[in-house]
Symmetry: C2
Amino acid sequence: MGHDLECTISLLARTPAALDALLRDLPETWTFRNEGENTWSAFDIVGHLIHGERTDWIPRARMILQFGDTQTFEPFDRWGHVRECQGKSLGQLLDEFAHWRSENLGELRALNLRPEDLDRRGRHPALGIVSLSELLAAWAAHDLTHLHQVSRVMAHQYREAVGPWTRFLGVMQCAGRSSPK
Amino acid sequence: MGHDLECTISLLARTPAALDALLRDLPETWTFRNEGENTWSAFDIVGHLIHGERTDWIPRARMILQFGDTQTFEPFDRWGHVRECQGKSLGQLLDEFAHWRSENLGELRALNLRPEDLDRRGRHPALGIVSLSELLAAWAAHDLTHLHQVSRVMAHQYREAVGPWTRFLGVMQCAGRSSPK
């Protein structure tokens, strides 16, 4: 199927509450552990999502609408969450993510995008020419890739505990890491 | 890390609300589509989780406590969700899942399991001897494997829409399917 802006917005609107329901006040075993060196915990992932709200999706959409493909997007800092997270609790991060997402969806709606706007082109530093439609679809799919990652990182903490069940649990076999973007 | 019963219960208690926040009233594009023939939609997955609540985890825990490894668990019907789902809306399924999970956690807490109970052994039809501890850890990890799957099935619907972003999104590369158990 193609891209449907209303579907994108419906999903983007729900992710903060879904992560909140899953993660808030969970024991730190689930939220602060990662999959090993240079990997992220659920806490880091929420920080990364905030960093994306602040510097990635809506700023890039604005750039497409203003400059088309004559200006290249700022490269996204894949370790930007380190600053976002510093000195904060997971509860604070969840609140911030919900706040930024709500602001950004307000801004997206206010753009009143017409179908022809979605075809407008921008320039990604690694991917080259991309459309506004692809950017917005990727925003929603990016939520899903990190929900997918959160589930995997959390399941990893129980890899030993489940004993022989490991082989029946797809999440324990997943090697679908996201690449830097 | 090993198994911690309080961690298991904390997670089990949150999954219904997390899925509710993510899925309730989402457009059917997200919730009723699957990944192709013989694969599941988010709707099917919630049905499967209900079927597990009714026939798998707590019934097996009871069996371990009553009969140890002298009786083999009933095999789990991996297509049992078809009956669970019939004629129901996703909203109804989410309500049912929350209801069964809450009942089952009530029953688990009422068992007042001591550390030595967690070492008790049962017999799985495919895995052989398993401990109560492993069964309960697998119950929580099974929630995560299906949250992982829901994210992947939903992301699949936007595989085309995200254009060149596909290669940056780990969820689009995931081949971590769960096996029948």
